[in-house]
Symmetry: C2
Subunit: 578 residues, 2 copies
């Protein structure tokens, strides 16, 4: 027996296996996951595992290594989150999200830090040795909402898209603020004296860290898109580039002390559109599937490790400090959301309701990022107290808030996510309205969201697509891609039901010169390709609707409509489309 | 800048990126890969990289770590090889393969070892200090044909299936022999005296190592299949189990000093059938794609590292020893193939031609396994000579033999692989003949291949499928799966060509009691499910053939055949099938 030799890969594989089996186990009993979120169950498994290890070895089980967390477990989750980010609601609400992420996080950090310092002044609690700086440092790590925890809970409760993107976007974008404040306070702790110039440098640093991360991410994303232009002959390694470039962007950003999370999100969002157009359908399935799989495993491991690491002798218990931390976390977040939303609602037509505000405040879960940051603190005599307080806050938010948020959403009747995807017709109207609004903004001289979106789209089709796409001759709009996807799915369903039969195959036989009335002005605003695509879709889609629900006609029997006449029409329309 | 922090993942990612980009680079210029095998190009890139590192640092570049090779780079390639192993030709030729792998390898080891010892006795060569045991040890590592090198070259030259499986199967199955002999001679080198009991123990060990590996692999494979029974609700982690269990089987086998390669091949071949039936279509695509991708990257890295490791000061040059090693490798392999094939041909109707024999002997490429084994040798004063000789043999076989084998195959007009997959009709006949032959063997009391295959199939459908498959009610034979796959592909093609039209949708409208004449005896031999499936396929397939090539009829115009009458027929046939 030579265990030493294979120990590292063997143990890693076993941990992943345990995590996956635990996941299967929960789903075997159907009722459990609908009541308790998976994250709670996984932490629970981790607690049991930790208890067993503690009982057997009589020493604390190994703590989740912060390096392993930040270098190996976090990136897959953030990559998945960024890649599948619904970009439309994200950019529509980017202002609000940034406000919550930047101002809200700073508000929470200072709020929690200063009020905890106030608590420390009470002599009865015996906490006078915790300085203001240490309290602020602690505030900076406990204030940030955790994307992993938020994702795990919000994916199960299906609130409406806007609410989801507000909470989730905030949890992703607050990384830059957290990184800067955490590092700032940590370096202040080690400095003998703090000058005001250091404070200003800190403010400047925030922009460098955030925007730098985005820049690094976009650079790698564009390179990835460019690389996939040349993979036509070796389809098999296409998925690899998506993962390699995203990971490199994360590591590069971390190397320069920029925000790795912002980098990987920017990289994923930037490359998605071009990569999807370049790579083959199977490669794309692999990318999507593997990303989901990887992030799911990472998440599982994080929650299990979180449970395991909780057990042990790392904690110093101080009732007042821990209780007040919890209370201040809740109060300051609620206040922050209320105040910020008040300003947001003054400038928007589509306001955030008070129910939504409650869910945003209540959904501010803390998770593994806080936990890793608190272990990364330099050693000082109250570190164990901070660890205990962090653990309590995480467990409280994940267990109590995570488990009650679903009933609360039901109780408050918060607007849910619509069940079905938008129809092709709706998508066309959305796109049309975008063009219209861009035009209106252009005429009125107001440089709003739509104006910039239009400019970006123009830049994209004029320059980026030519460089990054392999087959630029046939640029496909997202609607056409969606349509193709639906058509393909429909075909597979038909094939599986064994109903694939005789199909019309000679569209060239019937030539007809019927003209389609097109609005000349519309044609000028929309670019020609989009117009063509829309025509094609309408032609096919109208036919489909008519076919699936034929009008009642007392001269024909049901199921005996005239296929020839209709086929003729379709062929004419299709011919027009080509 | 904090490079230390991210160094390990950053450098690994960069190496993989380099390997992938090199692959893309080769394929950009189309002519190159058709002349020079990719493996040669990659070694060449490695040599250049090594030269650059050597030139810049003025010290030997890092050598490929044997642990990294055996624990991380080799398993993906072997898993891929085992999972996509064409099981029919493999089991049809298992006897010949085992003969080549076991007897052939032993023949080569002792042949090369003893003749090199003879060379060492020539005083002029100044090699008297190399003992017989060291020569045999060297023989044991240099004799084994390398699966990675064989795969890389043979996948490009497309020889016929039997020839391919003979060379490739040998390279996989000789692992057990190599492991045993290598470890045996290594322990003999360190022993003061060798007793005859040790030699007998060595012979016994071979069976333990080989069969033990297979047993470990099958156990994990069955567990994997059983696990995928329960993944219906969490499709996203299904692919993970295929990888986790295979890797665990490899690590477990290595831990107990069994043959890891045999274990992972057995695991992959054992689980494939059941896992494919249990997991979703998308999971399956992901598994296949990711396996190919991973093995492709591993292979690329191995060849690049092989090139890098060649550069440096690890070599001791001794012309006679190195030249004679190369010559003996070639001669003993050729002799071995000739002698063994002579015996094989005496017992088989379907003989191995002399052209095939030449390609088998010539295709005995050495690769990274020899290279890693020679670095794993205990330190002794002639180790550098062995390293040099191994490097020369590998480079010679990969470059000279690898590059000339394609022209030679063309020149000798070796039978190529058939281009198209067997038709459904052929597959039905093959299956039918299997049943027939099993019956004949049963009656004549001859326990041949078909008898055992039939028994295994019976055991499979009686016990294994019930335990391992999720939906046992609808066991699908491989033909039905193939048919479904073809149908789905056809549907996608139609959808992509935009020809998916009106399909008949009311099979229940037309009931007809036409009877199908079935041979009662045939029904007894075939099991009922298979018969039903075959009927269904015939029904659909006959229709398809008739549809695609309608008979000429002077009363109808082309493209104007009677769809209604035919549709009626199809519906009747389909109704029968259901």
């Amino acid at each position: 027996l030579d265990y030493q030799h294979v120990q590292v890969p063997f143990e890693i594989t076993l941990w992943i296996m345990l995590a996956s089996l635990a996941k299967i186990g929960f789903h075997l009993y159907n009722k459990l996951p609908s009541v308790v979120p998976e994250s709670c169950l996984l932490i629970f498994v981790g607690l049991i595992m930790g208890g067993i290890i503690y009982g057997l070895n009589d020493k604390s089980p190994p703590v989740m290594d912060s390096d392993i967390f930040f270098l190996y477990l976090l990136p897959p989750i953030v990559l998945d989150a960024g890649y599948f980010m619904p970009s439309r609601p994200f950019f529509e609400n980017i202002g609000t999200i940034l406000l919550y992420a930047v101002v809200g996080t700073i508000w929470n950090v200072f709020g929690i830090g200063f009020s905890l310092y106030g608590i420390c002044q009470v002599k009865a609690f015996r906490l006078q040795d915790v300085s203001l700086l240490h309290n602020l440092l602690f505030g900076s790590l406990i204030a940030a909402v955790d994307p992993v925890a938020v994702l795990a809970v919000f994916e199960e409760i299906h609130v409406n898209e806007k609410l989801h993107i507000l909470v989730f976007g905030e949890s992703l974008l607050n990384d830059a603020v957290t990184v800067v404040l955490y590092k700032l306070f940590r370096s202040f702790c080690e400095m003998p004296a703090i000058k005001s110039v250091d404070v200003f440098a800190g403010v400047g640093k925030f922009f460098v860290v955030g925007l730098g991360g985005v820049l690094v991410g976009l650079t790698f994303g564009m390179t990835a898109a460019f690389t996939t232009r040349f993979t036509k002959d070796i389809r098999v390694i296409e998925p690899l580039f998506v993962f390699l470039y995203s990971y490199l962007s994360y590591l590069t950003a971390e190397m320069f002390h920029l925000s790795g999370i912002m980098a990987i999100v920017a990289c994923a969002m930037g490359m998605k559109r071009y990569v999807e157009a370049n790579i083959s359908l199977k490669s794309h399935t692999t990318v999507k599937y593997f990303m989901k799989m990887w992030s799911s495993v990472s998440e599982t491991l994080i929650f299990i490790f979180l449970g395991v690491s909780t057990i042990g002798e790392n904690h110093e218990w101080n009732w007042p400090y821990i209780c007040f931390t919890l209370i201040f976390c809740l109060i300051w977040r609620a206040l922050g959301v209320l105040v910020l939303t008040f300003f947001v609602n003054r400038f928007h037509v589509n306001t955030i309701t008070s129910k939504d505000q409650f869910i945003i405040a209540y959904g501010g879960l803390r998770g593994a990022i806080c936990f890793s940051l608190v272990f990364l603190l330099p050693d000082f005599h109250r570190k164990k107290l901070f660890i205990a307080a962090t653990t309590v806050v995480i467990l409280f938010t994940v267990f109590v808030q995570g488990m009650t948020i679903r009933p609360l959403v039901d109780l408050l009747a918060v607007k849910r996510k619509r069940e079905s995807a938008p129809t092709v017709g709706e998508q066309i109207h959305i796109r049309f309205l975008d063009h219209l609004l861009a035009g209106i903004e252009d005429i009125s001289g107001h440089w709003g969201q739509y104006y910039w979106k239009d400019k970006l789209e123009y830049f994209n089709s004029k320059y980026l697509q030519k460089i990054l796409l392999r087959e630029y001759d046939q640029p496909k709009s997202s609607i056409v891609l969606l349509y193709e996807k639906l058509e393909r799915k429909h075909a597979i369903e038909l094939a599986e039901a064994g109903q694939l039969g005789h199909t019309p195959s000679h569209p060239s036989l019937l030539n007809n010169d019927r003209t389609v009335i097109t609005d000349k002005k519309l044609e000028d605003t929309l670019n020609l390709d989009v117009l063509e695509n829309i025509q094609e879709i309408l032609a096919r889609n109208l036919y489909r609707i008519r076919r699936t629900g034929p009008a009642y006609n007392r001269h024909t029997l049901p199921g005996e409509t005239e296929p020839m006449g209709r086929a003729k029409e379709i062929l004419i329309l299709r011919h027009k489309g080509l």
